[in-house]
């Protein structure tokens, strides 16, 4: 039976994560986009820059999250020029929340907004499906997040260093990708701090190994 791919939505059913540390945030995501059971893009970049030091992690409908991110990027850029200074992470999160809540019936978008601003340092805000907005020191999202709540709750400590946060995020994402069929590919990580943004990719064969039965 041949099936038309266009009758499916493209989804970022995924695993995304963000962690605050002293001086910035670490964000991470898997790289799989699916249409039904087919992987439309196995190297997706779900960590989207909204401003110089503010990123968002996208999960849910690919079309919806791309459109929302483009709109917020425009609004935040305009706002930043008006203010003539770097925008606050909370402002970016508020813009996401406004859009996601106003159009909650039409949209399917789970977004984590994370970045660094001079006033409050590194911050992570989560805007899940429905349009709530709340600040959390560590946040996970997407279909794969269900599998790692236990791991995250037991392994997170306040006051971790940048390297510890990177290791923590990479391991959590690996565990989720291992168990969730909708997550996979490579692990994309980014560190946002006063110095700027450092991005890295961990390929499939370089992922941390856990013992599996």
């Amino acid at each position: 039976n041949s099936f038309t791919i266009h009758s499916f939505f493209t989804f970022l059913d995924t695993t995304i994560m963000a962690v605050e540390f002293e001086g910035g945030v670490v964000i991470g995501a898997d790289s799989r986009t699916t249409t039904g059971a087919y992987i439309a893009n196995r190297v997706t970049d779900k960590l989207t820059p909204i401003h110089e030091r503010i990123f968002c992690c996208r999960s849910g409908s690919a079309a919806d999250t791309q459109a929302i991110a483009d709109a917020v990027t425009y609004q935040l850029g305009f706002h930043s020029i008006e203010l003539d200074e770097a925008p606050l992470v909370q402002t970016a999160a508020s813009l996401f929340r406004e859009m996601c809540y106003r159009y909650r019936e039409e949209l399917m978008a789970g977004i984590i907004v994370a970045g660094w601003d001079p006033r409050r340092g590194g911050q992570v805000y989560t805007v899940p499906v429905g349009g709530m907005m709340t600040r959390q020191p560590v946040s996970v999202g997407g279909s794969g997040s269900s599998y790692i709540y236990g791991y995250v709750d037991s392994n997170y400590r306040a006051g971790m260093s940048k390297e510890e946060c990177l290791k923590f995020t990479a391991e959590a994402l690996t565990l989720a990708m291992e168990r969730d069929g909708s997550s996979g590919g490579v692990v994309r990580l980014a560190v946002i701090s006063e110095q700027g943004v450092e991005r890295q990719v961990i390929l499939g064969n370089q992922l941390p190994k856990f013992s599996t039965v």
Partner: protein, 277 residues
Amino acid sequence: MASVSVCQYRPGGFSFENCKRNALLEADINKLGFSSPAARKTGTTICGVVYKDGVVLGADTRATEGMVVADKNCSKIHYISPNIYCCGAGTAADTEMTTQIISSNLELHSLSTGRLPRVTTANRMLKQMLFRYQGYIGAALVLGGVDCNGPHLYSIYPHGSTDKLPYVTMGSGSLAAMAVFEDRYRPNMEEEEAKRLVRDAIAAGIFNDLGSGSNIDLCVITKGNVDYLRPHDMANKKGVRTGSYRYKHGTTGVLTKAVTPLNLEVVEESVQTMDTS
């Protein structure tokens, strides 16, 4: 909690379980005078690849209307701008009109900026229009071109999401074509190798997907030059009949001949002139 179920391991390859049953059914059906149902065909194979000097776009040429091939040689690679072309899969009317609208808007934009249009601009315009229509415009596109920032290739889905990648496939034959790409794609290929790769990917779609068929069209875009190769490869040429089925005059003997004239009466005659000036 999800229940754990034991997965039955099935050996790979074709499953011949139903062949005996189908043969019996077909014999029975033919006795009653019916024929077994034919396969339903839908779809397309389109793909694109970025190589050393630019992009190569490829498409098959079959257009289907339900269970019938409506057009054996339709053109699926649409013009967007002198340096940007777009392959379209999905509803033919939607892909045709969408690409024409964006081509027109892009030309006006290009005149306004005074610059050659960029592929990312075409991508933005297409994705914003398709998102506005929430997927009701059934256009799945492969957009490729070369601009001041080099060669670019995008895949655009009917709901408005896009992916920027070095190689993409779309349409019902996309899985067959992607299999070829995943096997043989390398970055920075030469032009001949890239054309061969795209040709083989489309051929995989044509021969393994019921919805794709006929010929292979290619479009090679480089900086300052476009080669629109239509057809690049006639993969399905119609065979030449080896024998003649015409019968000589007198093959069938005429036994009797009866002529019946039909008496028709002209009742009314009126002439309407049409103003064709």
